[in-house]
């Protein structure tokens, strides 16, 4: 009986063997050792699931800045209306390892108010 249980549990773990090799969360695509600050103009804003975003124009480049889930932004005082196209924003975050114009924001400052996104 005990052997059968161990065999069954062993089988489950075998089948699940792919999981532990993968990083704990979905942000590993961004390089947290390269913190960067960008200030620019919001060209486009998406207050959408699973993560909101803005396209931020800085001199010479337009960054795709990945933000937090809308529910979190709302509860932390960053409603959709604050992500105004044409408005200024400063973001602190990490660049994507693969996509040269993508970064993930740790915090965003609009109209002098800073909102933590993690």
């Amino acid at each position: 009986m005990l052997m059968r249980i161990s065999a069954a549990i062993g089988l489950l773990f075998l089948a699940a063997g792919v999981i532990p090799a993968v990083a704990h969360h979905g942000w590993s695509g961004y390089d947290a050792t390269k913190e960067m600050t960008l200030t620019g103009t919001i060209k486009e804003a998406g207050y959408e699931h699973p993560h909101g975003h803005v396209r931020l124009e800085v001199p010479g480049k337009v960054w795709l800045v990945v933000l937090a889930p809308p529910t979190r932004m709302e509860s932390r005082g960053l409603p959709a209306a604050k992500l105004r196209v044409g408005g200024k924003a400063t973001v602190v975050g990490y660049p994507h390892r693969g996509n040269e114009d993508e970064m993930r924001a740790e915090r965003i400052t609009i109209d002098g108010a800073t909102v933590e996104l993690r």
């Binding site: 089988l11 489950l12 089948a15 699940a16 999981i19 959408e48 699931h49 529910t71």
Partner: protein, 163 residues
């Protein structure tokens, strides 16, 4: 991410349901929760049945367990498929090209086929091994496959957010 898809996936992303999924504040998490509740019931039923086939709790009749679990598994599909569909249409282009999502669909089809073959073959003669006897090799193999496939479906479902 804002959908920028073309073709049928782009069309799906432009539907009212997809837009609501992306933009409504609480719809997306609610749908996720219902999807999880659904597959907990489905995979939970399958796993408990598989363990019985593998020889645990042999005093319980296999046919009795099937009578109890299968209706729940069927009902759970009514919860899982619409919620899964809603999550898919919200980001159809990204999902359609996501390797983890494609693998998940493949495993889903294989898991369904495995269950169908089990019901059409070894389970037909369940009277001979209903209680207190080991299930035939074909049934035990189906149970192993089922456990492995459903675990893989869940793993791919979780991992598709990481690709």
């Amino acid at each position: 991410m804002t959908p920028a898809g073309a073709g049928w996936t782009g069309w799906l992303e432009a539907t009212a349901a997809a837009t609501a999924m992306r933009q409504s504040l609480w719809l997306y998490p609610i749908v996720e929760i219902l999807h999880i509740i659904g597959f907990v019931v489905l995979v939970g039923s399958a796993a408990m049945f598989d363990l019985r086939l593998l020889g645990l709790s042999r005093q319980l009749p296999v046919s009795g367990m099937e009578h109890h679990l299968l209706p729940w598994a069927r009902v759970s599909v009514l919860l899982i498929v619409p919620t899964g569909g809603l999550m898919f249409v919200a980001h159809a282009t990204a999902f359609a090209g996501n390797p983890a999502f494609r693998l998940k669909l493949l495993f889903l089809v294989l898991a369904a086929l495995n269950a169908a073959v089990f019901h059409l073959r070894p389970f037909r003669r369940v009277a001979g091994w209903d209680r207190g006897a080991p299930a035939p090799l074909a049934a035990r193999l189906a149970a192993c496959l089922s456990l492995a496939l459903w675990t893989s479906v869940i793993a791919c479902g979780r991992l598709l957010a990481y690709f």
